[in-house]
């Protein structure tokens, strides 16, 4: 055959056709696509019947609904090789529009919306009771029974040796049922060393108790027409954020005026009708100066106020607008104008609250604000300061004989209920060194005050037990880990958030079994009490947390458990108590101002709902929503500084600096922000975890570890709002 043109074409066409009829091309194409793209596993979420369950997030005070899927098919895949994933899973946490304090909006805060990430992220959960093998440094799983035996054995041994006081405990919230159980446990066991995370609730209760003889008070934010917020992060985490935001929406719609007194151009300051840029930590002085104007101009309400003469003498001598001008950095006329505006406004309330780092605040500041409210005459009136109703709760049953014996035991020793002094005394061995520590559902080695000091103490204690949901900073220092359930997996409750006018109560129940071996913190303590027997078991005669809650709520339990919340129906107006202005106490608390000791700048916190600073950690989704500047330089801490201050220090935007305080130093990048007060340095709070896996570990710095805590001159409660620092360019 001649190899002519026709033959070539025939051969080529035949070849191509033949090749295409064989599987070779398709096989090669398939291989090429597989090997060039190498698709990894993409999850295929199982569908199923949808249900919604009511719950309550105790960390944020939000009533929520949890969407549950009852999966029809459980896929077997790389992450679930044996197909044993639980059938019921939660796919979403959303707001509960029925919650009255949310005004039907049904909103949430980022922490609620991403709560499932904290619950499901197994890498950072405590999955089973684990004991640390001190020779190898590896945790070994043990049974709940063995773990409880171990702790009870050590407790019994110490008690027998008359060293019960050497057991220290730290809890999260003293007012909820878990806190009450922990209190009863420690009292019956005989140790006075029990501390809780310090809160503004404590300061407000003390101030109100002293001045109004009513510790349970709130600010009627929903009824107010003029709101003067003195240094509070009103829109950045005050009280239950969802309820405060609902009130804010009402102000916007109803034309109420919000005035924010603060040193930084925060979210609240920007959303306020007026921002009074006052020096940091001087809000108490400003409130007193405003009191002076009200009294001098005859704008103060008529009525009997005990100690008015002393109070008048105090403000006239030390807190006139002229005298306050230096401390507050405001012009006397501005103070006067603000006081007159407040005095003449209808339904006006002055609000005090936690500081930006979520610290409890100074007693004097709170008392000054309450005095301002008393002079305004808004006590018990709509839009004023009101006394809250009682919660529908019975106290924990405490058999008289047993608990009295326990308390007598506890009272024999010097003890600390303040984490700041507890850690300092323990480190100094003054008068003794603790032999055992119980961390019950809290993370003191991360949160303030002086997280570093607390962590140091935990490292020195020979036996640390942590009842924790997460492998957090405190749990990683523990010798024995007990798995606690998150609010989605366990029984628990939450009492009225800070400063709320209506009493409210939240109850969460086990909806899921994400970590099947986890138990409520209260359950672990009750198991321990039962094992210890004697006085402790008698003080806590409950088999489980659910039983304790049932006993406390009585007949109302079923309804509250179903709804997830209880709210006082109406704000109770009317105030028939007496008011004591307590000028001497105010003067004592405010007289002690932190000296800067020649430091160049002052470090303060920037609160935000994007970072959160409460009992639960930041979630991976929340790392995604940080502002562009918060982690602009990868994981480095970014501190805000006023451009003018930076100019004096020869700093440029983005410069690397060393920030030194008495607590130690850290490196940070500076970010220019015109809204930062000159002479100040601002740092976000809620970042800088040293635990919690790759999403969160090492992202920024921990404000709580670098802030210097001081004791309030009257209450002794730690205050860590302002830290004097030196800044040096690297």
């Amino acid at each position: 055959m001649d190899w002519d043109r026709r033959a070539f074409v025939k051969f080529a066409v035949g070849g191509v056709t033949g090749l295409h009829l064989s599987p070779l091309v398709w096989k090669l194409m398939d291989d090429v696509s597989i090997w060039t793209q190498n698709w990894s596993w993409v999850p295929n979420p199982a569908d199923g019947a949808l249900a919604k369950a009511n719950s309550f997030n105790p960390a944020t005070g939000t009533a929520v609904k949890v969407r549950l899927i009852n999966s029809r098919i459980i896929p077997k895949d790389a992450y679930n090789p044996d197909g044993k994933a639980p059938r019921t899973r939660a796919i979403r946490v959303e707001g509960n529009p029925e919650y009255p304090l949310g005004l039907g909006i049904g909103g949430v805060v980022p922490q609620d919306a991403s709560a499932l990430q904290n619950a499901y992220l197994g890498d950072v959960r405590v999955k089973a009771p684990m004991v640390l093998d001190k020779t190898t440094g590896v945790y070994k799983e043990i049974s709940w029974g063995a773990a409880i035996d171990m702790v009870a054995g050590k407790l019994a041994q110490l008690k027998k040796a008359d060293q019960a006081q050497r057991v220290v405990a730290f809890g999260d919230n003293p007012d909820n049922t878990t806190g009450q159980i922990l209190k009863a446990f420690m009292a019956a066991y005989g140790s006075p060393n029990l501390a809780f995370a310090p809160r503004a609730e404590d300061t407000l209760a003390l101030a109100a108790g002293l001045m109004l003889s009513q510790p349970e008070i709130g600010f009627d934010l929903l009824g107010a027409k003029y709101i003067l917020s003195l240094g509070t992060p009103l829109l950045e985490g005050f009280g239950a954020p969802v309820a405060v935001r609902a009130a804010f929406t009402k102000w916007r719609q109803g034309g109420a005026k919000l005035v924010q007194v603060e040193d930084r151009a925060s979210v609240t300051a920007s959303q306020a009708a007026k921002w009074v840029a006052c020096a940091p930590g001087s809000q108490g002085v400003l409130a007193l100066a405003m009191c002076q104007v009200l009294l001098a101009k005859g704008l103060a309400a008529e009525g009997s106020l005990n100690g008015l003469d002393d109070f008048k003498a105090l403000v006239d001598s030390k807190f006139t607008p002229k005298a306050a001008a230096h401390a507050t950095g405001l012009k006397p006329v501005a103070i006067e104008a603000l006081a007159v505006e407040f005095g003449q406004a209808k339904q006006a309330v002055a609000v005090c609250g936690p500081g930006p780092g979520n610290e409890p605040g100074r007693l004097g500041d709170f008392m000054a604000v309450l005095a301002l409210n008393a002079l305004k005459g808004n006590l018990g009136k709509p839009g004023g300061v009101v006394v809250r109703g009682a919660l529908p709760l019975k106290p924990l049953a405490a058999p008289a004989g047993a608990s009295a014996a326990g308390l007598k035991g506890a009272a024999r020793y010097a003890g600390h209920s303040n984490p700041l002094t507890m850690a300092a005394a323990a480190l100094a061995g003054d008068p003794y060194k603790p032999k055992m520590a119980i961390i019950a559902g809290a993370n003191p080695a991360y949160r303030g005050p002086q997280a570093g000091t607390f962590a140091k103490m935990l490292r020195q204690v020979p036996f640390v037990v942590a009842i924790s949901s997460y492998l957090d900073e405190s749990a990683t220092l523990a010798d024995l880990l007990l798995p606690a359930g998150t609010f989605l997996e366990s029984w628990g409750d939450a009492v009225t958030p800070y400063g709320q006018a209506q009493a409210s109560y939240g109850l969460h129940k086990p909806l899921l079994k994400i970590q099947p071996k986890s138990k409520a913190v209260g359950d672990a303590l009750l198991m321990l009490a039962a094992k210890l027997g004697g006085e402790v078991a008698a003080a806590l005669p409950y088999k489980s947390m659910a039983e304790a809650l049932k006993a406390r709520l009585g007949d109302g339990f079923k309804k509250v458990a179903e709804k997830g919340w209880w709210v006082q129906e109406k704000v109770s107006y009317g105030f028939n108590g007496s008011v004591d202005l307590q000028a001497a106490t105010i003067a004592k608390s405010l007289g002690h101002q932190a000296a800067s000791h020649g430091h160049s700048l002052t470090l303060a916190a920037v609160p935000s709902l994007r970072t959160c600073n409460n009992s639960e950690p930041i979630t991976p989704h929340m790392i995604k929503i940080l502002t562009d500047d918060t982690l602009r330089f990868k994981d480095q801490t970014v501190v805000e500084i006023n451009p003018e201050t930076a100019k004096h220090l020869h700093l440029h935007d983005g410069d690397l600096v060393t920030v030194d305080s008495t607590e130690g130093g850290f490196q940070a990048r500076v970010k220019f922000f015109a809204g930062a007060r000159p002479g100040m340095l601002y740092m976000p709070v809620g970042l800088g975890h040293t635990a919690f896996g790759f999403y969160r570990r090492g992202r920024g710095g921990n404000y709580n570890a670098v802030a210097k805590a001081e004791a309030d001159a009257v209450t002794g409660l730690p205050v860590w709002g302002l830290t004097p620092v030196h800044v040096r360019k690297v």
Binding site: Y79, I105, G107, P110, A119, A265, Q271, P620, K624
Partner: protein, 273 residues
Amino acid sequence: MPVATGEHLYGMVIDVDKCTGCGACSVACMSENNIGTLPDETDKIRSITWLRVYQIDNGRPYPDTEVAFFPRPCMHCGGSWGGFFQQDADPEGHHTPCVSVCPATATDYDDETGIVSQIPTRCIGCRYCVAACPYHARYFNWYDVPWPGGLEQSLSPYVAPRMRGVVEKCTFCYHRYQQARDKEFAGGEFGEMDYQTACTEACPSGAITFGDLNNPEHQVSKLLRQRHKHAFRLLERLGTNPKVYYMTKREWVRKRADNYLPGEKIHRFAVGS
């Protein structure tokens, strides 16, 4: 020719004066739409946030500084449709920027709802749409999203998780529209509250309102009628015709919504005229 010929025209009104920048909308969106978290989310260029909350400030020195927030979902640009109450065609003939450049029909403008769809399984990852979107609302999956330690258990079955190499963006929670239509088909009613986006529900200040701009009874339409003087859209002068409206009483916030020259007067588009 008006683009929206269908029954519905879904849009959003965001009250900037109520927004406190907490980010609840953004996180609620992530949990609703199965948006994953990369190991390092500090790199904002590659971080995926369908609804991103931008912080702006007025640029004035202390103590006159003020900040505000622009929550930015996909704008669902309508293109040649003159805006609310202004049914005339845009004489310049603008179009939805992303839809017109997509070579794979992976994104489309739905005439029935006015929603700009995104179909990840059709996407070939060319990223023309990412480049075309003036709002940076489109995100490319540069990496595989890890779902470590049981995190995939929290995924919603209503939205498919995306693979590496495709573009994704806000869909106005289109699956919720489908669910509402399913309910209607089964004999139920399709009311205003039956189709709401996750961000709208999550906002604790009630700053986001969502609904049908074609329906005068819906809250979005009422708001735009009542407060048209305060309403504006982002980068309006581009003629993209977004369906996400913002509202503010603050002039400086409004000025930040577009690129103005120093001293230039704010160009007011005919919203509700």
